[in-house]
């Protein structure tokens, strides 16, 4: 068991455990904390795949800003333990196995794909990290229009959040 394998399994297990805790937790704040755990584990997996900049962006934006918003909203709304309601029997007893079946189906077909056999690195044994310069050149030259479009999208989101949060005077 070489070091990349051990690291992969450690972070993969942390991610899956976090996702299961998200489902199982009674309080929303514990679900939020387990989702943060999943995101940090995924950032570590991005590092293993050589995408350093994306790992840093994931932690700064996703785990450090979006999830802070979630935690704020949970704290403001004082969201407590979820109430239980009556499910229909079909949903409870047929839904969960079907969900797990979907999961296994996806995993099976992805594992058998032709891409799957390729090793994680381009060449034998060397893991070349993607340089930020190359990524930014592609972002600002080939994908310049989507980049500017997302800036307008963020402006629209800010305006939308402001309008929604405004109290009627």
């Amino acid at each position: 068991m070489s070091l990349p394998f051990i690291l992969f399994f450690v972070f993969a297990i942390v991610a899956v455990v976090g996702a299961i805790l998200l489902i199982v937790a009674h309080e929303p704040i514990h679900s939020a904390l387990s989702l943060i755990m999943v995101m940090v584990a995924l950032a570590a997996l991005y590092l293993l795949l050589g995408a350093e900049f994306i790992a840093a962006v994931q932690i700064i934006v996703y785990a450090g800003a979006i999830m802070v918003l979630f935690v704020f909203v949970i704290m403001l709304l004082n969201a407590g333990v979820e109430e239980r309601t009556n499910w229909s029997k079909i949903a409870k007893y047929a839904g969960l196995p079907l969900g797990i079946f979907l999961l296994c189906e996806l995993a099976h077909w992805l594992a058998r794909s032709s891409i799957g056999a390729r090793i994680a690195n381009g060449s034998e044994g060397t893991s070349a990290a993607v340089s930020t310069r190359a990524l930014s050149e592609m972002l600002f030259q080939k994908y310049l229009f989507p980049f500017e479009a997302t800036s307008i999208l963020i402006l629209i989101a800010i305006l939308g959040a402001l309008v929604l949060a405004k109290r009627d005077e």
Binding site: F8, L49, I115, Y143, T150
Partner: protein, 102 residues
């Protein structure tokens, strides 16, 4: 040192996506459902990064960047909507918001 095959990352992505779907379908709280959506987006990001490494192209990473940015914008508006709904209906249970007219 041998490296981890890409299929391992894809299987992990599928597992996380499936768990996100299960959480989305089976939870009551609006905020927890929204967090399940973010979990699904993260699983898809992992698949993109894995494919970017497999093909040695950077387009996958740029797409992950855009997914993260769009998720940020969407969560800002979505959480504002959730706050408004919670103030109007006084409940965070998704079953109580199933009518257009109160």
């Amino acid at each position: 040192m041998s490296a981890v095959p890409i299929s391992y990352y894809l299987v992990l992505s599928a597992i996380l996506f499936g768990l996100g779907v299960i959480a989305f379908v089976f939870k009551h709280n609006i905020i927890t459902i929204y967090m399940a959506i973010e979990l699904m987006l993260n699983a898809v990001n992992l698949a993109f990064v894995a494919f970017a490494r497999a093909h040695n192209q950077l387009d996958g990473l740029v797409f992950v960047f855009f997914v993260i940015v769009v998720a940020a914008a969407e969560s800002a508006v979505g959480l504002a909507i959730i706050l408004t709904i919670a103030q109007n209906r006084q409940s965070l249970n998704v079953e109580r918001v199933n009518q257009l007219k109160f």
